[in-house]
Symmetry: C2
Subunit: 96 residues, 2 copies
DNA sequence: TGAACATATGAACATTTGTTCATATGTATT
DNA sequence: AATACATATGAACAAATGTTCATATGTTCA
């Protein structure tokens, strides 16, 4: 790794902020397997739809998830290969 | 990666919380190179000693840094190989 | 022992964050 | 067009967070 400027570190903190909340990390984790609708995610996490929607927007702004519409339903999925890797590494660390 | 329980995901979020604040990630990053005293870190980051001390305690509780005393001075250093890897991967992601 | 230095800590405060509630938007079906 | 369903969004609120200030603790050296 080469020398890093301050802005890069700020941006890196922003990236990790996505993974620092248990709701968001659980959302991302349940997208590991496959794309899911908002309702589906809300049911899986036993949280209300609004909370999930707000967090999905957060993740979307950070370009970590993408979505597609199919009729009334909007499916979310991971938008970034690194997400899987970074979270997996975090999980492995915790599991040791 | 095998199936994960809820607690593991909570703990993983806790781990990432360490990296989600720019002060903490800058502290960790400046420890990449070598161990440093509290005063030294405060000067590098242009922040007051108290703020750094509080964040170091946070990082110490999470077992991400360790310290040793040499006379009046206390030197902090990284306590975990994974820290370097996870942050590096985050930085690489941001730099793309 | 007393002064100077390095670090830690508690309290207070402002800011940020995550959730809920109510409601708006968009789509499909009848 | 009206209704039902899926999702998004704004406002309000409580809780968590990060910093500062003041001060305490611990160490060294004269």
């Amino acid at each position: 790794m080469k020398k890093i400027d301050e802005n890069t570190l700020y941006d890196t903190a922003e990236l990790f902020k996505n993974f620092s909340d248990s709701t968001r990390i659980r959302i991302l984790y349940c997208l590991f397997e496959k794309e899911r609708s908002v309702t589906e995610i809300a049911e899986l996490l036993k949280m209300n739809q609004s909370a999930i929607s707000h967090q999905l927007r957060f993740l979307k702004n950070s370009k970590l998830v993408k979505n597609r519409r199919d009729g009334k339903t909007i499916y979310y999925s991971l938008d970034d290969d690194h997400v899987y890797n970074i979270i997996s590494q975090g999980i492995e660390h915790v599991q040791e």
